[in-house]
């Protein structure tokens, strides 16, 4: 340390008691545990001095759960470490995954949670979740092309709300508003995702935002820097006091959220982001960017540290060069601020004039904040005073915990359906209008799906203003190529809550089928795992089971896991959320001209089920709706899935498949109805051939790897030849506009498409 540094604020930790250290951690909002504080004490004893306040804050950022994954890293490495990369170019290495798209291009993808900020300031929290994920894709040098988001809310229908947390209905409206305003203003289509409701999300809503981008293979920018002599340029938004301590906050459980948490909330500014995207991509195009990282959780502290550590270099930073929103910010505040819309680039100083020209053209502010040097120590100065001088490896690597985990024995519960027959029509009307099962139009219609003009399959399919839900969306990212990217995201969290292993396989299977149903071949996976408190061995058990299921599925189906995110401490007053492994899956559509959508196309076609039959109601939406419990979840057969994928995509490529929809939430009946809802075309179906189970089980079971298909009758024979060796069952045909279901010659259901659609389409009207 230099002499001048003695005028900095030193934090007295040498020789202090563990109890004192813990109190210090709390009073400085560091979020570090007693053991971690002792590790710091030992380090500074080794170098013979007390730390500065900047050093303490930097350590707290770097060692937070959010930045170093200390609770999950051990298990993530164990389960994802040895997975094959397949088409992936960068898997789990940089800020986002990069996968080959064709000979010249690669696509970039990532999904991240923004749960904790969204719980206390849902509009800003959700908006900055979108903003942050765009930067993750942008910093690989990629043009962002589409957004996805999976959002989970509490009981929005609750009338009374006595808790101190925000009402789930307010959270729903604000989160959707934040995603809408940010995505629409920045000019990216929001094309896929999921919306779910469950009481376990009452105080801990989940917001998982994903982004996908496209980049020329020779234009990929890495998230590290390895060239001493390069300079660091910080561009985009200014640095302010917003978002200080966000990551420490995400590493602790949310007790009672109140105004006191203000400093952790950031508000986004898409009006700055849009030109920033252009400026950054233009700089990438002229090949002057040597390394790039976005500023997210942990701010400059984590971006500079991680970029240098991965590149085996060190840096010298001058904090007074950082452009500020408000004067008189303290050095540690500048260093860890999580203000939005900022990008950190490493460039050769000779290229600075060119960079200036580009950034001035787009009216983007920037400043040179430091340079890359050889060595092991990161040195930070403020007006010439050294305020941080630490070994990068110690600073950035962070502790790794091998936390204990426990997989509890499950009580065996078998559901017992009432013996008498249901009034199916009455049940179905109520089921379809339930918020969990109804149409998501009130939400999805707020998002722009087609800006950029490359959306081939939108999240809504069918007649304009009379659509149905799509399975996966398809984007055509490269002008000169007819290849498409099929995108889906979601989770079968109710099944995961019953059995994390089988439920995660169900989640993976649904994502896989969603992609397949559009005629595309699944190609890569990103996971976003949302859990409760990891200090509870049962929660760690969920992480272990979920990770092992994702890993097993990907090994059997030859898919790479290219990026991931773990969000922990999603709990309130000791109650954890249901575990949610949210899976984003991307597939390749060989030719978008043959992309398949979910809506029935014409009367008189054949309807087939492809795949293995299933009649268990375990983990189904119907059981939840009826208030029944079951300890079993259908087991999905990965070999079967692998066997149908190739022939199915080839069949789709012939153009023979008019419509396809996978069977998942709500079972066969919901899938059939949704195919009708998009066009108003009805169906006449007989259930006798499906299985010997009870009618209600055949209609609502969510098991099996099944896809419903519409094929023109004149193509029946050719279709069967194409799918030779795969279990296919013809269950009926489409008609003008009525719905008729029979089972063993008995009538089961009669009605018109419109009366069922009416129940389904208005389910959320009272809440958003």
């Amino acid at each position: 340390m230099t002499e001048a540094a003695e005028t900095q604020i030193n934090v007295q930790i040498l020789g202090k008691s563990p109890q004192y250290l813990m109190e210090l951690s709390q009073s400085m909002s560091l979020g570090l545990s007693q053991e971690e504080m002792i590790m710091l004490q030992n380090y500074f004893e080794g170098i013979g001095r007390n730390p500065t306040d900047v050093e303490m804050q930097a350590m707290a950022q770097a060692w937070s759960e959010h930045c170093c994954y200390k609770s999950s890293k051990f298990y993530l490495r164990k389960y994802f470490g040895g997975l094959e990369k397949h088409d992936a170019i960068l898997a789990m290495e940089d800020d986002a995954g990069v996968v080959a798209f064709d000979d010249d291009y690669a696509y970039v993808l990532k999904m991240e949670s923004h749960n904790h900020p969204s719980a206390i300031e849902p509009y800003g929290g959700a908006a900055t979740g979108v903003g942050g994920i765009i930067r993750d894709v942008l910093c690989m040098g990629a043009q962002p092309v589409a957004l996805v988001d999976s959002i989970y809310f509490g009981e929005v229908w609750a009338d009374e709300w006595k808790e101190k947390t925000l009402h789930p209905r307010f959270i729903l409206n604000s989160v959707v508003g934040g995603i809408r305003d940010y995505g629409n203003r920045v000019g990216l289509p929001n094309v896929a995702g999921s919306v779910d409701f469950d009481r376990s999300f009452n105080h801990s809503p989940l917001v998982n935002a994903g982004c996908i981008g496209i980049v020329r293979k020779d234009g990929i920018i890495r998230s590290f820097v390895s060239k001493p002599g390069d300079i660091f340029v910080l561009a985009g938004g200014r640095t302010g006091r917003d978002g200080i301590h966000g990551v420490n906050f995400a590493s602790a459980n949310l007790q009672e959220k109140s105004g006191k948490n203000k400093s952790v909330v950031q508000l986004g500014n898409p009006i700055v982001k849009e030109p920033l995207i252009h400026a950054v991509l233009e700089a990438c195009d002229v090949h002057i960017v040597d390394g790039m990282k976005d500023l997210g959780g942990g701010g400059l502290s984590s971006s500079v540290g991680e970029m240098c550590l991965s590149g085996g270099v060190a840096a010298e930073i001058d904090l007074e060069k950082v452009l500020l929103k408000e004067p008189a910010m303290l050095p540690w505040e500048i260093w860890i601020s999580e203000s939005q819309e900022r990008m950190l680039m490493a460039i050769d100083p000779l290229n600075l004039p060119e960079l200036s020209r580009i950034f001035e053209k787009w009216d983007i502010e920037f400043s040179v904040i430091g340079k890359i040097v050889e060595g092991n120590n990161l040195v930070i100065r403020h007006n010439g005073l050294t305020v941080l001088d630490l070994d990068l490896d110690f600073l950035t690597s962070g502790p790794v915990y091998c936390r204990n985990f426990e997989i509890p024995d499950r009580k065996i519960i078998d559901y017992v359906l009432p013996a008498e027959n249901f009034n199916l029509k009455e049940l179905l009307m109520k089921f379809l209008s339930n918020p969990e099962n109804c149409a998501r139009f009130n939400i999805t219609r707020q998002y722009d799906h087609t800006v950029r003009g490359s959306t081939v399959i939108r999240p809504l399919s069918g007649k304009p203003n009379h659509e149905t839900h799509s399975d996966a969306a398809i984007i055509k990212p490269v002008e000169q190529s007819n290849r498409g990217l099929a995108i889906t995201a979601g989770s079968r969290y109710d099944m995961v809550a019953v059995d994390p292993l089988a439920g995660t396989l169900a989640t993976m299977t649904e994502a896989y089928l969603n992609i397949l149903a559009t005629g595309s071949m699944p190609n890569s996976v990103v996971d976003c795992i949302n859990l409760g408190n990891p200090e509870d061995p049962i929660i760690m058990g969920q992480l272990v089971q979920i990770s092992s299921a994702i890993s097993e599925f990907c090994r059997k189906l030859a898919l790479p896991v290219v990026a991931g995110n773990v969000s922990l401490y999603n709990q309130y007053s000791g109650a954890d959320i249901k575990p949610v492994p949210n899976i984003m899956m991307v597939g390749i559509t060989p030719d978008v001209a043959h992309a398949v959508s979910t809506d029935f196309k014409k009367a008189g076609s054949s309807i087939y089920i492809i795949g293995r039959e299933s009649s268990s109601l375990g983990g189904s939406r119907l059981l939840k709706f009826l208030g029944l419990e079951s300890s079993s979840v259908p087991w999905f057969d990965m070999e079967e899935l692998a066997a149908i994928s190739g022939p199915f995509v080839r069949a789709a490529g012939t153009g023979l498949i008019l419509a396809a929809h996978d069977i998942s939430s709500g079972g066969l009946i919901q899938a059939l109805l949704e195919m009708s809802f998009g066009s108003g075309i009805g169906f006449t179906v007989d259930l006798s051939e499906i299985s010997p189970a009870r009618t209600i089980e055949k209609l609502f079971s969510e098991g099996g790897e099944r896809i419903l298909i519409e094929v023109s009758q004149e193509n029946d024979e050719r279709f069967r030849e194409l799918l030779d060796g795969i279990q296919i069952t013809r269950i009926g045909s489409t008609n003008e506009n009525s719905i008729t279901i029979t089972d063993l010659q008995m009538p089961v259901l009669d009605g018109t498409v419109e009366e069922f659609r009416e129940a389904w389409v208005h389910g959320l009207d009272n809440y958003i």
Partner: protein, 81 residues
């Protein structure tokens, strides 16, 4: 009937994108003298009862549905006829 005005604005330090965009454009248009812009929203309520009762109701409304204390603050004033 008292008329109550509730003014809702951002807390200091919270980014105000709308204000920043306006400021930027004012500078482009040549109003270099404008150094900062802040936005706020005001709600006008006609409330039955005394001034004190009206103020109490306005506070309740502001806290329950008009503001999020994490990013916003409010002030209340009674309009004199």
């Amino acid at each position: 009937m008292p008329v109550v005005v509730i003014k809702v604005e951002y807390l200091p330090g919270v980014e105000d994108p709308e204000a920043l965009t306006i400021l930027k454009n004012l500078n482009i248009l040549g109003y270099g003298g404008v150094k900062s812009v802040q936005t706020s929203k005001s709600y006008q309520l006609n409330v039955q009862g005394s001034e004190a009762e009206a103020k109490k109701i306005a506070e309740d409304v502001a806290e329950k549905i008009l503001t999020n204390p994490v990013i916003q603050k409010y002030s209340i004033r009674i309009l004199k006829k």
